[in-house]
Symmetry: C2
Subunit: 540 residues, 2 copies
């Protein structure tokens, strides 16, 4: 015993649900199911059912440290399963149902999942995969009727909720999430109680998601996508109302914004694009929505302006599965209110700043740190207590000296501390020894009327190594032409960045997490023949 | 090594200043000195000078764990000394210059302070106490001219700031603060790095002080009073602007609110009373002020309304040195915007709710937990990772079973989780087996026009054990009478709560921390003879 002492307890995730049950017991958790049905529960019920689930897992012989997998969209039963699995000391493993069979095969076997809880919507996938998942001993279906042998309610029926959470060290693992990895096998990020709790405390701050007990938050990012960006941890911490939607049809989401008076929401640009298109077409309103966070990939300027014009505070975060995922937070800077509209938009187009707990630096090809001048781009490295050190079951650490983790993103740091992602390291177009940001090209193109989506990839060029090819999806009813797009781009990017060719397609490929799949595009356009240089000069 | 790992580092206070130096390096820290002079510095300079101070302390032979005392008001050099002392592994000990000599004698010797940094304003006090503080080896004066042998700048002159903070465990002590204790010797609360950091993370949340990098915060609570309620830790965490005033003359504070565009402020009711009186008299404005937190003792309803009428979000917190000090936070509840004005005021008159991390319960005389019905009052107990377990150098813990700390406050918990302090356990007036809240009587009396301040104490009564005596200070120019006060009270408190007598005095005694000193009043009115019961009945 020291000369004096403060109290202490381990930073364990279950304290969140204890707090919510005690202080915000009747705060609503709303689920909109895929069929459109809306159900309601609250923290008191979630806590009770999580204890019943913990009992059921123990009765099934699951031990602390064992992995309990979920293959489910966002809903309250999924939320309950999170806390039930972690409450009995298990490690929650959220599976992404959009992955390919081979990936799911690898991931479940690598994780050694012993129980798998799934949505009926994925029953076919589960049946197909069962022979390839020999280690899974028990399948439980969240929404099967009670007479079904796999029914969750049937499984929980014998249990009364008289249960005390398993205690332990705050460095014990609590959750596992695999990166969808564009190369090689998926890799598992093993979150622990402490990293999750520090991340949750940072997430609620005014410069982050700004969550209070008055907020009503709807994450439109799946719970299997880096823990729905931590919202299911932040909600019980603050007592905000939580709205979960099991699907992302814009009509259903818009109904929820209105009916549930959603004030805060967060999602990737692709989902927002669909929503904006729906709203523009139907004249829906976002009603009470005040705070929108965009992350996952860069938000186009036009999207940022769209929200601002509706009086919605829009902000831009950045992160990845390896950063829990909040690696930067919006944090409008000092002097925000005195900034002009243009300055505020320029700031918002960047990916925010570090919260306390995270550090950024950008390094050149030789690993030398670059100055924070807002000009020089380099590979972004991060570190901090909710950043990965070692992937699940890997023999070596994933970080270089001093814990710096290489994100694979290319970024510039500005003198005010804000960070600007300019590209993925593998997507940057290397032309004549200089870098062209594929993301900036795409964002500029999306601002062109009639363009719904755009992707820029580098294709081989005999003289410049690579030159940009822009692939465009037209908006509904649009007949925008390549010349229109060129005209639009020509005042927005450097002349040598202008794409050598523009192709129109019906749709672009996306990864399982909703991002543009540049890898698929590069494969599809491998061997693409650019128009010759004469034609380029002609265009100039 | 586990199967996978997130990064980690100890939650050490110095990470706050590292973060602020790196991410908010030129964010202003403004000091208004007692003489009226205003000086400016920033986190870059504070960090640099803190490193120089750490060097000076090491050069003076101070070791990690040694206590470094300050006897100073709020200013940037004091702030720098905090981080300098903690940065070299020392324990910062903030002394309250308003204490009696005997208390300061006890505290400094009990703490074994080796260095004492003081304001020139307290030079006489220091000179007087030096013979009684044999363990203090070195006295440094914050604001002495460089030619003075005790000058801080002279002491720091040889040091260049090339220094790396001492690392260590997050449970290492970092700060020491004694309670002014109304009985017995003062007791020391030894904060550690972890408790301080978790407290700081909770403090910035929207339901707490709501601090962002856009905020400009002026604590009008001394840095020796429970660490100025944690604001000097929360400021570098968020990058908000920090305004420190070395004195509390309302005119100086009002100038600062205006000139520095202060958006957030926090203080005890006594200080706000002086400010309100000044503003009413001079017609000053609070300008940019948006968020006011009142704590330390209960805020009268009239004060809460005064701020609300000016469009200022006013909130009510509760805490004590033993709770770091935030033991409850304002946290307006779900549905706040739909509440009527009267409902919002009623909620604000209570002392907020627990943030994640703190638990409350109220117990009766036998230690049985009382229901959260908003009616039954009992002794308030708290627990959590920033609540004391054991006082400095005490042999036993200060908590009862399951870490519950007895606050000495009497409170009721409401069904919505809000907490209402009804009295100090030792101030409650016990009349005929029932309790009369001295605080509620005082607050009701303060609402009477012409009453500037009021105190209610119990005096011995042959039949009822105790009956209330109300002691009133008239406002400037007021000729309010006892009958006026009775008339005002009669519609606001239960009839049996009406004081048996009212005395008018020129001023009321206050403790070193600005609270009403009921102890002094009880001594002064010991043996007071209440009017007989016939008179009471006649009044009815």
């Amino acid at each position: 015993m020291a000369l004096g002492a403060m109290q202490d307890w381990p930073l364990r995730v279950m304290r969140l649900v204890d707090h919510a049950e005690r202080e915000h017991g009747n705060r609503e958790i709303v689920t909109a199911w895929s069929g459109g049905e809306v159900t309601r529960t609250d923290w008191r019920s979630v806590a009770h059912d999580a204890r019943r689930m913990a009992q059921a897992l123990e009765a099934a012989g699951i031990n602390p440290g064992d992995r309990v997998a979920t293959l489910a969209m966002n809903h309250s039963a999924h939320l309950t399963a999170w806390y039930g699995a972690i409450g009995m000391g298990g490690v929650l493993h959220t599976l992404n149902p959009r992955l390919f069979d081979d990936q799911l095969d690898f991931i479940v076997n690598h994780a050694e999942d012993r129980v798998l809880l799934y949505d009926r919507a994925f029953a076919e996938l589960v049946d197909r995969m069962k022979p390839r998942w020999p280690m899974v001993e028990r399948y439980i279906c969240f929404d099967a009727p009670e007479e079904d042998e796999h029914s969750l309610s049937r499984w929980l029926a014998p249990h009364d909720g008289r249960y005390t959470w398993v205690e332990g060290d705050e460095l014990d693992p609590c959750a596992l999430c695999y990166t969808s990895g564009t190369t090689g096998n998926p890799k598992g990020v093993l979150y622990n109680h402490r990293s999750t709790m520090l991340h949750a405390l940072a997430e609620v701050a005014p410069d982050s998601f700004n969550l209070s007990s008055r907020a009503c938050v709807m994450p439109i990012v799946p719970m299997f996508h880096a823990n729905a960006w931590g919202v299911p941890w932040a909600a019980p911490l603050t007592g905000c109302k939580l709205v979960l939607s099991a699907d992302y049809r814009p009509a259903q989401l818009c109904d929820l914004y209105r009916d549930e008076k959603v004030t805060h929401s967060a999602g990737v640009p692709t989902v927002w694009l669909g929503m904006i298109e729906h709203i523009e077409r139907t004249g829906s309103e976002l009603e009470c929505l005040k705070y929108v966070t965009i992350g996952g990939s860069a938000a186009p300027r036009a999207m940022i302006c769209w929200f601002r014009e509706r009086g919605i505070h829009v902000s831009h975060a950045w992160g990845m599965t390896e950063t829990s995922p909040l690696g930067s937070l919006p944090g409008p800077p000092a002097g925000w209110d005195e900034m002009s509209d243009a300055e505020q938009i320029a700031y918002t187009c960047r990916q925010g700043r570090v919260p306390f707990g995270v550090e950024h630096r950008v390094v050149d090809d030789e690993g030398r740190e670059l100055p924070r001048d807002g000009k020089q781009s380099g590979e972004l490295q991060v570190r901090g207590p909710w950043v990965i050190r070692r992937y699940f079951k890997e023999a070596g650490d994933a970080v270089c000296a001093d814990n710096w983790f290489n994100t694979g993103d290319v970024a510039a740091l500005h003198p005010d501390g804000s960070m600007q992602i300019t590209d993925r390291a593998k997507d940057v177009i290397k032309s004549g020894g200089e870098w062209i940001s594929s993301i900036e090209l795409e964002n500029a193109a999306i601002g062109c009327p009639g363009v719904a989506e755009a992707a820029a990839i580098g294709v081989v060029h005999p003289k410049w190594d690579e030159r940009p090819l822009l692939i465009v999806v037209r908006g509904p009813g649009s007949d925008v032409t390549g010349d229109d797009v060129y005209a639009h781009l020509s005042t927005r990017v450097a002349r040598w960045w202008l794409p050598d060719a523009i192709e129109f397609v019906d749709s672009l490929p996306h990864t399982a997490t909703g991002k543009l799949s540049k890898k698929t595009l590069r494969e599809r356009f491998a061997g693409y023949r650019l128009p010759d240089a004469v034609e380029m000069v002609g265009r100039d």
